[in-house]
């Protein structure tokens, strides 16, 4: 499987914001300063102070929660890696926003025909075998583009080479069952403004565990209820007959 991904190395980021601008240009948005992810900002370089920065954008999970929770299958995990949203299907229930462990999907709160907005990992560029806008513009190589397996190997190499530099693990290797985006952090996820309590396994199984049991539970419950219907009705019939007998015993 050739899933593409991105590797972000926090120690190499200088916070120039070029990737923000490239992202906005690529998605035909008005150039603007980003202070958080919202319906008009898919990519945010957060200033953590002391010349340390973190990037926020869709992690493109291997087993995405949004794909699993969407009642109308509006989200798709593409073969190339990006997770994309289909405007024609969405009914605006916002379950994806509630469920996403990285809080990535954003909603157009002031639109009459609101869209779910999020980073699409430049799917249109990927399909032409071009790297994402953010990776191709990055002047320091803090964000690199490639096959996920290659990036993971590279991340482990950097981690082994200079363990002191990083927090000791790769954010995204196991988060939510693994993501196409990998992050080498010099500060803890919480200190980097990233969700720190993301479960280390894929989330869709949590609800699938329950849903898959319905075809077993419902027939049993139905048979039980049907049985009780028949059984208790018979009790009434017996009561009728006994009532009849009692009346006649009095004669």
């Amino acid at each position: 499987m050739s899933i593409y991904g991105l590797l972000f190395d926090q120690t190499m980021c200088i916070g120039c914001g070029a990737c923000e601008q490239a992202c906005q240009a690529e998605h035909d948005q008005e150039p603007h300063k980003v202070t958080r992810l919202d319906d008009n900002s898919y990519n945010w370089v957060q200033d953590l102070g002391d010349d340390v920065y973190s990037r926020h954008f869709c992690m493109s999970c291997e087993d995405p929660t949004c794909v699993s929770v969407c009642p109308v299958a509006a989200f798709t995990k593409t073969e190339l890696g990006p997770v994309i949203w289909d405007e024609s299907k969405c009914m605006g229930c916002r379950y994806c926003m509630l469920a996403c462990p990285f809080e990535i999907p954003k909603f157009e709160w002031y639109s009459v025909n609101p869209r779910i907005e999020k980073c699409d990992m430049c799917i249109h560029r990927l399909s032409e075998r071009l790297p994402t806008a953010c990776a191709s513009i990055c002047p320091t190589g803090a964000t690199t583009f490639g096959l996920r397996e290659d990036l993971l190997r590279e991340a482990h190499r950097r981690l082994d080479e200079d363990p002191e530099r990083y927090t000791g693990r790769i954010y995204g290797e196991y988060e939510a069952g693994g993501t196409a985006v990998l992050m080498l952090l010099s500060r803890d996820p919480a200190a980097s403004g990233l969700p720190a309590n993301v479960p280390q396994e894929s989330l869709p199984y949590l609800t699938w565990n329950i849903l898959e049991k319905l075809p077993q539970v419902i027939p049993v419950w139905g048979v039980f209820l049907g049985g009780m219907y028949w059984l208790t009705d018979r009790k009434n019939a017996v009561a009728d007959i006994e009532g009849y007998k009692r009346e006649h015993d009095d004669d």
């Binding site: 992810l37 919202d38 929660t65 699993s68 929770v69 969407c70 009642p71 109308v72 299958a73 509006a74 299907k89 969405c90 009914m91 605006g92 229930c93 916002r94 379950y95 926003m97 509630l98 469920a99 462990p101 809080e103 954003k106 909603f107 157009e108 709160w109 002031y110 639109s111 009459v112 025909n113 609101p114 969700p195 309590n197 993301v198 479960p199 989330l203 869709p204 949590l206 609800t207 699938w208 565990n209 329950i210 849903l211 319905l214 419902i218 419950w221 139905g222 209820l225 049907g226 009780m228 219907y229 208790t232 009705d233 009790k235 009434n236």
Partner: protein
């Protein structure tokens, strides 16, 4: 020639008109400027008061529909039959309100039917959507005989009651089982976003089991409201037994609830006496243990006023529970900042008001109660009537 009469101006009529104007204004605003213009929802708090109250509580409060029909038609406890029709009406109207609230809450409500053609069986919301559609249909079919009877169409009714009713009741119980529980399952996918006292894999079981005492309590409260509004005779001997059943089912639910917390090792959180612990104690003790102990007492059950008060406490406790899952636990888990806007409150109150107006209209025009349509609303003295 019809004579036009100006309706009497009363306090409640003024309130109703004011509410109707406000709700209409809010809906117009929502469909002109978007959800953000009427609600305090934001990206960090995608679901708020409407999902918590209108949807979770609305469906839970309709639970009397499947509970009472199951007791009467599946378990053949015929003495509860007088409760069936008002309960079916409540459940049907409850589901219509849920759909009404969804049409406002969904971002693109014109796509509400999409789960019918775009399938995703892995999604809990997909199951919820199908349950809403199918169970509303079942409730409509259970409600239809009221209308047929009203217009004197009796022949199909005999066959209807004989063959269709058992099927509808069975389908209704199965769909309710799935629907009540699936509303809890919705939150299972985000365990890290809920506070530990509410975040559990057992949510579907808890939501289903708690719906049963809630349904029973709701039936009792509704009987009391019908007495106040339409002078309906209470059936103290029946409601007494309903109270008993509520107590047992409540004990059943509270046992599962506390066991789940113990098994997950979160028992200490109950006595942390922080915000979460107070919200939990409010729901569990005041809305659960207290009414349960009261309902186990014979003197409470035999005093209709005390019985109704206790059952109302059960209803409030369950509303508290659903709101805790949807709003409090989510806020405590994620740190999201949210207080519903006044427009969110007005819309929710408006939905309840619409339900009550429809209920009252149906009661006056359809054979909902055993005596047929209600002629003269309002008894002379409801309290005297109750303690008669």
């Amino acid at each position: 020639m019809t004579k036009f009469t100006i309706p009497r101006i009363t306090f409640w009529r003024c309130v109703t008109v004011l509410l109707a104007v406000l709700v209409a204004g809010i809906v117009v605003r929502r469909f002109s400027f978007g959800l953000g213009s009427i609600s305090n929802l934001h990206d960090g708090m995608p679901w708020g008061l409407w999902i918590g109250f209108d949807l979770l509580c609305g469906v839970a409060l309709a639970a009397g529909g499947f509970t009472i029909t199951a007791i009467v038609f599946v378990f053949h406890l015929e003495k509860y039959k007088v409760l069936v029709r008002p309960t079916i009406l409540t459940a049907f109207l409850g589901y219509l309100i849920v759909i009404g609230a969804l049409l406002v809450d969904l971002g693109r409500p014109w796509n509400i039917w999409h789960p019918m053609i775009f399938w995703n069986p892995h999604s809990v919301m997909f199951e919820v959507g199908w349950c809403v559609m199918l169970y509303t249909t079942v409730l409509f079919l259970e409600f239809l005989p009221f209308v047929l009877e009203r217009f004197g169409i009796h022949r199909p009714l005999r066959l209807w009651h004989r063959y269709l009713t058992p099927v509808l009741v069975l389908a209704g119980v199965l769909l309710s089982t799935m629907h009540q529980s699936s509303l809890g399952t919705l939150y299972v996918i985000a365990p890290q976003k809920l506070h530990a006292l509410w975040s559990t894999q057992a949510l579907p079981i808890l939501f289903f089991v708690s719906a049963i005492p809630l349904g029973l309590a709701m039936v009792s409260v509704e009987s009391y409201l019908s007495l106040r509004a339409f002078g309906k005779r209470l059936h103290p001997e029946i409601l007494r037994d309903v109270g008993k059943a509520t107590a047992v089912m409540l004990l059943f639910y509270l046992t599962i609830r506390i066991e789940d917390i113990i098994v997950r090792g979160e028992f200490g959180n109950i006595f942390a006496f922080d915000a979460a612990s107070w919200f939990f104690l409010g729901e569990f003790v005041i809305g659960g243990l207290v009414p349960m102990f009261l309902l186990f007492r014979r003197d409470i059950r035999e005093n209709p006023l005390a019985l109704m008060g206790t059952q109302a406490l059960v209803v409030l406790g369950m509303i508290f529970n659903r709101m805790n899952v949807a709003v409090t636990a989510f806020q405590l888990g994620t740190g999201a900042d949210y207080i519903p806007s006044w427009m969110e409150f007005v819309l929710s109150i408006g939905m309840v008001a619409i339900g009550m107006i429809l209920f009252s209209y149906c009661v006056r025009n359809l054979p909902v109660f055993e005596e047929g349509p209600v002629e003269d609303p309002r008894p002379a003295d409801p309290i005297a009537e109750m303690t008669r």
